[in-house]
């Protein structure tokens, strides 16, 4: 950290700001630097995948189904930020750290509430039905959210420009340069993953989540309300997806109601890659996917095939490790 040099607080010259956003494409940089710079870009993308993948994997852990509406919760997080920013700006200047923190926290809270509501309205009535019924319902919820949000009375179908939440700048760390957004994306992800690990490993409710995930009826014999733990899990996972939505908006600036489809799919794949149901696995899977995708996209000649290359590598990994990178073989209970 000693070598980190923060840029001037304000950058009046727009060309200077433009330059700061493009260090990876500077062809005069040596190859090693180019590679490490792509690594930074890949990790920043992977961080967003990781935050979303955790929601998939946690819900799978307690309910054994894939909540396909989770990618749309991520999208709603982005839009929450989009609509909150002008209101927050009335009290705290944006771009600015205090305003950004408030937008982040509020979006996470909103997404947590949406996630809890989706479970309550759509999945809870089907608790004792076959998992396939719930899975199909999840796809229905996902489509419902996507197409309702595209209506002109809601968000409208066109892409919107995500507001600037943080002052632009460049940090140098070793030979690498991070722009503020990349630095914040990675920093926030690390903090959130640490907080999540603490909750799951050290708190009473986290232990109860693990107990429900291992054996729900045995957990209820301990006095644990499965219903409460399931709600909590949806809330926690959706809050992380909301954070992911904000970080994504800050990085890619264009948001639209269907953005959750592609990113959600990738995050789901990341969760499977890491071993579905395994929390560190989801984080690792997200990072691996982000990095692989970024490197594939950065190679001249094949860059248009970046998703194809990324998925091919995933398929190869899953052929040799079908339970995912950190997943363990589970014995199906009868």
């Amino acid at each position: 950290m000693g070598s980190s040099v923060s840029s001037k607080p304000s950058l009046p010259d727009s060309s200077a700001r433009f330059r700061h956003h493009l260090p990876p494409n500077d062809l005069r940089r040596p190859l090693v630097n180019e590679i490490s710079q792509q690594l930074v870009n890949g990790l920043a993308l992977g961080a967003v995948y990781a935050l979303i993948a955790i929601g998939y994997t946690m819900v799978y852990g307690v309910l054994r189904f894939i909540n396909f509406a989770h990618g749309d919760v991520f999208m709603l997080g982005s839009f929450a930020g989009y609509y909150l920013a002008p209101r927050v700006a009335q009290w705290f200047p944006l771009p600015g750290w205090a305003g950004w923190t408030l937008v982040m926290v509020l979006s996470m809270v909103i997404c947590a509430a949406i996630g809890i509501l989706i479970e309550l309205l759509a999945y809870r009535p089907l608790r004792d039905r076959p998992k396939l019924t719930v899975l199909i319902t999840a796809i229905g919820v996902s489509l419902l959210i996507e197409y309702t949000c595209q209506h002109k009375a809601v968000f409208g179908a066109s892409q919107k420009a995500f507001p600037d939440l943080l002052p632009a700048g460049v940090f140098k760390l070793g030979g690498l340069s991070f722009n503020t957004t990349q630095f914040v994306v990675l920093g926030v992800t690390v903090v959130l993953l640490a907080a999540l690990t603490f909750i799951v490993k050290k708190t009473r409710i986290g232990m109860a989540m693990r107990a429900v995930s291992h054996n729900a009826s045995a957990a209820s014999l301990m006095g644990i309300s499965n219903t409460f733990i399931i709600s909590f899990t949806f809330g926690l996972g959706s809050a992380l997806a909301g954070a992911g939505g904000i970080l994504y908006g800050m990085t890619y600036t264009g948001i639209d109601p269907l953005m959750g489809v592609n990113v959600g799919l990738k995050a789901f794949v990341a969760a499977v890659l890491g071993g579905i149901g395994n929390l560190p696995g989801a984080a690792l899977g997200g990072m691996v996917l982000g990095v692989v995708e970024t490197f594939a996209g950065g190679m001249s000649g094949v860059s248009t095939y970046r998703d194809g290359i990324a998925f091919a590598i995933l398929i190869i990994i899953l052929i040799f490790k079908p339970t995912g990178l950190l997943g363990s073989k589970q014995i199906e209970k009868v």
Binding site: R204, M207, A211, A219, S220, M222, G223
Partner: protein, 235 residues
Amino acid sequence: MLTVKDLHVSYGAIKALHGVSLEVPQGSIVTLIGANGAGKSTTLRALSGLVKPASGKILYEGRDIARSAPHRIVAQGLCHVPEGRMVFANLTVHENLLMGAYLQRDRKWIATQTEYVFSLFPRLKERENQSAGTLSGGEQQMLAIGRALLGRPKFLMLDEPSLGIAPLLVKTIFERIVEINREQGLTILLVEQNANLALEVSSYAYVLESGSILLEGRSSELKANPEVRAAYLGA
């Protein structure tokens, strides 16, 4: 303390219990014996709320708990050590015990009771920080009992504590069950396939067959009953 009246349970179209009635007086050890599939586990699962009875009453300390959710029943001091132990294999021994104490707020009581469980089963103390999945069957059974004891039970239900466990450990576990009953004044309902053992430690017994009570009586009398001896005691 617990009175079951005309309990009926079905799994879909299959009737598992048709009209089971039984009574467990405070402070006693009562056993429910019977062959595989007779409905012993189903009876316990209905008592702890894991399956909803089709009809009938379960009066626990005078209240009907037949429609209550499992986590509410546990809160009233009715704890269930399920068949197959069902310890949380992904949690450590210590964490499993803490899960047993999920509803307990009194940290001092939890610490004292944990020590009591360790004194009953010193093996658990040795393996305190190991994940429960690495324990042997007998050790897992000890853990399952210890975990239930941390739920501050007034009424303890044990489902097949001898199942799949080395004979030497079975002896230890049954000695401890008697000890718990004596020292903590705990009422126990014991389900066992090993009828010899169950009749040895209990004061009263019910024989369950195809979902209804076939016989009941003092354990010492049932032990002498020629019908029971032929069908369940292998004599």
